[in-house]
Structures are given as C-alpha cells and as structure tokens.
C-alpha cells in the first residue's frame, strides 16, 4: 500500500530537481540587462495605463467556480458508486439518479438565471 504511493514522492523530488537545475543553468548563462521599459507590463508597446490587480475587470469566474464545486463533489460521489454498481444493483442506481436529478434542477435554474452566459 505504501509502496504504491512512494513513487509520487520520489517523482516530485526528481522533477523539482530537474526544473531547478534547468533554471539554475539559465540563471548562469542568461544575460542580465534590465531597464525600466523592459520591466513594465506588456501592453502592445504603449505606456501601461493603471494596474491590473486593482480589479477593473468584471470577472465572471466566481459563479462558474461555485457551480464547478457542486458538480465536482458530485463526481467524487459518482466514482465509488460506479465501481460497485454491478454489485449493488438497481436500488442504488435509482437512488443516484434522484440525486443527479436534484442537481440537474440546480443547473437548469442557473441556466435560466443566465449564470452560464459569459458575455
């Protein structure tokens, strides 16, 4: 059991090592010639206007993320159910679909409210 998760730790260490080694070589051989214009945010060659991180954007991401959490938890619920579905049979199948149906109503509601429209 432990042996099947050990590779993850070894791999994490090795890939991190590879990445740092490459970055180190880059740091050694790459030129360093920073000046003000080079270090300013890229905006098609114009002087940048305002900051990006002070929030002048309407970010629709929030609603999508909440919807995602609901369905992602459902995915986690579905995986163990799918593995043993043959054994537990029709009862569990119907029960799961009642659950999915309730979630689907939520999706339809979000859809009708226009939460899925990006523009």
């Amino acid at each position: 059991m432990l042996l099947s998760y050990l590779p993850v730790i070894i791999m994490f260490g090795f890939v991190l090592f590879l990445a740092s080694a490459v970055l180190f070589v880059n740091k050694v051989v790459g030129p360093k010639n920073p000046y003000k214009e080079k270090l300013s945010p890229w905006e098609c060659g114009m002087e940048p206007i305002g900051d990006a991180d002070t929030g002048h954007f309407r970010v629709h991401f929030f609603v999508i993320a909440i919807l995602f959490i609901v369905f992602d938890v459902e995915t986690l619920f579905l995986f163990p159910w799918a593995v043993v579905l043959k054994k537990i049979g029709l009862f569990a199948f119907v029960e799961m679909f009642i659950f999915i149906f309730i979630l689907a109503i939520g999706l339809v509601y979000a859809w009708a409210k226009g939460a899925l429209e990006w523009v």
Binding site: L3, S4, Y5, L6, P7, V8, I10, M11, F12, F14, V15, L16, L18, A19, V22, L23, N26, K27, V29, G30, P31, K32, P34, K36, K38, L39, S40, P41, W42, E43, C44, D51, A52, D53, F57, V59, H60, F61, I64, A65, F68, F71, D72, T75, L76, L78, F79, A82, V83, V84, L85, K86, F93, M96, I100, A104, L107, L116, E117, W118
Partner: protein, 330 residues
Amino acid sequence: MDINTLIEVALITVKVILVSSILFALPIPLTWIERKVAGHIQLRLGPFRVGWHGILQPIADMIKLMFKEDIIPDKADKWLFKLAPIISLVPIFLTFATVPVGDKITVLGREITLYISDMNVGILYILAVAGIGVYGLIFGGWASNSKYALLGSMRSSAQMISYELALSFAAIGVVMVSNSLSLVDIVNSQKVSTWNICYQPLGFIIFIIAGLAEINRIPFDLSEDEGTLAAGYHVEYSSMRFSFFMLAEYVAMVLMSVLAVILFFGGWSGHAILPPIVWFLIKVSAFIYFFMWVRFTFPRYRYDQLMTIGWKILLPLSLVNILITGLFVI
C-alpha cells in the same frame, strides 16, 4: 526492511527517473513533428534549415531559450511569478506515476511491471493531480500584474474547471463498464471483452472534446488567443520559465492521448504479431497526431461559445451517457 523491499524501492526509483527524463525530453521531438505536420498540412515544408529536414530545429530553439534573459516585471509579485511555472509543470509529471505502458515482463528471473505503481484509485488520482496544474495558470496570470495575463488566466482557469466536469463524467462511464479505477484493471477488462469504445461511443466523443479543451489546444485554446490576448497567461514570461509552461502543455497532450488509449482503445492489447508495448505506442502516436491534425484544421471558438458547449451541451450529454450506461450495466 528485507532485501526484496529494497530491490522494489530501487526499481521504483529507476523507473521514476527514466519516465521523468523521457517526459522532460519529449517536447523536443514533438515540437519538430508538430511544425512538420503544420507545414505539410498548409502545403509548406516546415523547418528545413537546421540539420536533415530541420530535425535539429527544436534543439536550436532550446539552446536559444536557455541563453535568454529571465525577465521578471517590476510590478509582478516576484515570489508567485517565479513559482507559477513550476506549479504548472510538476503535477502533470506526477500523473505519470500511475500510467501503465504494458503489463509485466520478466528480466533475469524477476518480474518487472511496466508501470511505476498500480494505484487502486488510478483514474481518480490522475484527474485530481492534473487539476492542481490550474493553480499554475492562475498564479502566473495574477502575479504578472498585466491585463492580458490576468484575463488570459481567468479565461483558461474557467475553461479548465468547466471541461474537467465533462471529462470526469466521461471517465465514470468507463469505470461503470470496467468496475475498477485502476488503469491496469481497466485495460485487462478490455482484453476479456472488446474495447470500451464499442460500449461508450458517446462517452468517447465527450472525452475527446473535453480533453482538447482541458489541454488548451485549438479549437479551444482561448487562453492564448493571439488576436485578443497577445499570449494569455504567459505573456510576461520569457526564457526557461516560459518554456516550462510549454513543456507542461506538451506533457498534458501526451497524458490525454495515453488516457484516451487506456480508457477507450484497449491500452496495450492488440494482435499478437507485434509486442504489446509497440501496440501501445502506435495507438498513442495516432492520438498525438490526431491532436495536431485538429489544431491545423479547425478555427478557434469564441469564448461564450466555449462556455455554451461546456455547460449546456457536454455536461447534460455526459449525464445522459451515465444514465444509459447504467441501464445497460444493470
């Protein structure tokens, strides 16, 4: 600790180093092939100057990137900016810890498995760990403190989480047929009966569309839409940090091809005239070629169309797929 466990650990270490090194070097041939495919689809020759048919071009590119300045914008959040490429790179490598390329071979009287580890939660582990890569994009775009980068990262993270749902639902269809989450068991169950593509045609279509969106490739590469966003979340990156994002994207493409082969096309099973691992490589190459072919055939979607496809078509369709599969399984 007895001697057998030690040998086992040593074997695992060797396999991990081998797999990671191969994946790290894989974009070198893949970029060359991609540019050649692009060239020939568009009736050009593609790279031709450096070496035979331009075969040394990616190596020249790599050396060029290595000798470039690593620019860190003065308004950027320095820590996150440096960390983001690594966050997007490492998880996609970690998924390969459980990806099998074959069953078992016997070397010097010792059975060696052609996978690093056969986790009993295989497919769930892959989906979960691959999901961590999204943080790399968000951090990269946010830390750059540039408008294009911020918009690009918002777009691509919203896109990736939207399509992750359809992707996992399509994978659940396969799990229902195969009764296991372990990738080795899924392949073995397809050896007994036929390939899952026969039971899950709808699931496969959903999987491949969602997969294209998940790895940010055309027709869904909205995050790096040159026409509106310059380069998306990595617009401020240069040198090796930029190439880490590209590397992660190529490894993700390989992962998606491997998953499509294992879940739907029987993994390494095939006619006995060729060894199993050759079958596996042929199938994976076919999928990689398919992804390249799609890239140079289709135009890019608009962002609202992308969201419509993800939430209003693929998600309900994948739920229907689970319903139909369940009715057949019971």
